[in-house]
Symmetry: C2
């Protein structure tokens, strides 16, 4: 069988990791794929840096826009990033010509996933995005294929390694958010501009894709109410611990009657629960289906090698001819969901005001408001008793 021909756009950490993976496990990958994977072009603005892999054997394209025009190309691995601009243009150009896309770009797919899925369908191309959610954990495959017989009831994800690292370090050291963030930035665990991570935007991008896949609905990033972890204090971490809980930034999506409730916010989860035990920069996804019951998957959510593992898994799938719609069903079958309002949800709440913290019984939004109305700038988190 002739080689599967790919081009790689973007040679940052993950791009270099993908090339390393394809090179170092080439023999094994060819045996599992039943054909070779051939890199026919690579592209990056920086053609000079040493990335720890041998790039001398590849053709450079000076412009990512050229890649979609390469004769006989099967797929473009898009690792440029960003929801707009070059990445978006490249994805549209490729899919429009029937060239498949493999990407780790959650921002792109959260904003334009529905359009790209439709474009792929129309032109007989596919979109692989295992690397876009929870790094090396094969959660897209698990939800889309492994659990395909299930009606999913709920998904809970720890989807951002930076936030989980910060929350774990705050608990272990007793230090405040700002100090740990600074330390994480110095170690390279957090970006210079950390807002996508710590404000929950990255988690919301990923949740948006999981929700679409799990519930068969059109991705709708704007519908996600998103709250980050900046306001959490050392006192909250300590109080949660005394109540037997840990604080995790959760992406949650669950059926609520005929609607779907979806949120990104720091929540209290039991310290001895499976999600409570997911620490440091690890990611995890906990899903409940009507037949499988409960499934948890844990692993590295980011980094050169784990993300490369997911990208390469997608390339192998495409090279083997795996043909499955991007969001599990064809775009004409994706419904427009009714989003449940947080006001409809009954929950237990953690409330801290001044030096006092409490956890309520299960109450509705009105009762919560009545409770917190007279308090001086209360800080409130949902309790997820999983």
């Amino acid at each position: 069988m002739k080689p599967y021909r790919i081009a790689i756009a973007g040679l940052g950490t993950v791009g270099a990791g993908v090339i390393e993976n394809l090179q170092s496990n080439a023999e094994l990958i060819e045996a599992r794929t039943g054909r070779a994977i051939e890199i026919v072009a690579i592209c990056d603005r920086d053609q000079d840096s040493n990335r720890g892999v041998d790039l001398a054997c590849y053709d450079w394209a000076d412009d990512a826009g050229w890649l979609a025009d390469i004769d006989g190309l099967d797929a473009i691995v898009e690792l440029i990033g960003g929801s707009e601009g070059i990445a978006y243009d490249l994805a549209k150009a490729a899919l429009g010509k029937g060239v498949s896309i493999v990407t780790a770009n959650k921002a792109l797919l959260a904003h334009h996933g529905f359009e790209l899925a439709a474009l792929a369908e129309k032109n007989g191309a596919r979109v692989g995005y295992e690397a876009a959610v929870a790094g090396g954990i094969p959660i897209i495959k698990a939800l889309r294929e492994g659990l395909a017989g299930n009606e999913v009831g709920s998904i809970y994800g720890i989807l951002n390694g930076t936030c989980n690292y910060i929350l774990t370090a705050m608990r272990e050291t007793g230090a405040d958010f700002a100090d740990i963030l600074k330390e994480a930035q110095e170690k390279g665990y957090a970006e210079a501009d950390p807002s996508f991570d710590v404000d929950g935007v990255d988690t919301a991008h990923k949740l948006c894709l999981l929700t679409s896949l799990a519930f068969g609905v059109q991705p709708d990033f704007k519908a996600i109410e998103t709250k980050g972890i900046r306001e959490i204090t050392g006192a909250d971490i300590k109080a949660a611990q005394e109540f037997g809980y840990r604080i995790k930034l959760l992406g949650v999506a669950k059926r609520q009657g005929g609607a779907i409730f979806q949120s990104v916010e720091p929540c209290l989860v039991p310290a001895d629960s499976s999600l409570g035990g997911v620490e440091d920069s690890y990611n995890a996804v906990f899903a409940e289906g009507d037949f499988v019951e409960k499934v948890l998957m844990t692993g590295r959510g980011a980094g050169r090698k784990p993300t490369a593992s997911a990208v390469v898994g997608d390339i192998i799938d495409l090279a083997k001819g795996l043909d499955t719609p991007m969001f599990g069903v064809t775009t004409d079958k994706l419904t427009k969901p009714v989003w449940a309002d947080a006001g409809q949800i009954k929950s237990r709440y953690y409330i801290r005001a001044g030096g006092d913290a409490q956890i309520t019984e299960e109450i509705g939004k009105a009762e919560l408001e009545a409770l917190t109305d007279k308090l001086d700038s209360p800080y409130i988190m949902r309790v997820e008793d999983l």
Copy 2:
């Protein structure tokens, strides 16, 4: 697209669950598959029992042997069980005619998997066996496809729910093995003849398949040294706990130089490790790959609905045309492994003799023998510090 036509052989707990799943989620399954799944025949010696699902709409075959001859049949779902006899004959007959097999039968595949994989390849049929290992957890798919870019270094599995239930109950109650086993049998959590479970045979069947898949080697059930949990006492559980460990029946396979070490035996794992936290009848598989690093998957390892979830996932895959070799690579590429001898392994050991228990430093087999030589009937378990 025309329906995917299946026959179901064996209508015990899992068979009835598969029919329930295909019936209750028919619409969703058809949308995800892109075609309907049609049950064209069912077969069981008992045609009268009420199984909690409507069977009136299906044709009964009086003899499982007839199923492979049904005109235009795509797959047989084999849920009869047993490594020989009807299940084996049916699998050979079906695959010989190019009819695919979906099965939960680990005993059959541990003993005859290589032969059946070759037969499937020769005749353009496939073998789905997600349900044979770790029930609802999509671990076969994760290893075979999601992590296909990785060279796997090690796998650790809690693969038998009955044993994990017994060990958890022993720890929680302080009771001895025999009492908990009796209670588990009364509750239906353990078979009247529990030896396949508690002697580790079932775990070895499953490990045999995981090893083959992860390392690209021919399955070789007889090569697995297997020790069960009957000899574990309440005192062992308590001593392990005092050392900060829990006892789990582990199936372990790992690279050891150019060889593969493989064993089924009760081991001590850290109480606060991810595997240490897998309790009751839950199953889990922990895998390390050279790119993905560490991945853990946890879920229900048995039961009507979780096992049905795995069977139905396989049926959907086959109906969508997923074409991947049974053990990840074609049978001509499966190598005959060199099995590492336990004598080559250095490990820490738990040793109990009389009322005393200790955990050693990392030592080899010779040092272990020297240490235990003078002890009166010592009980020894490996420590896996994961």
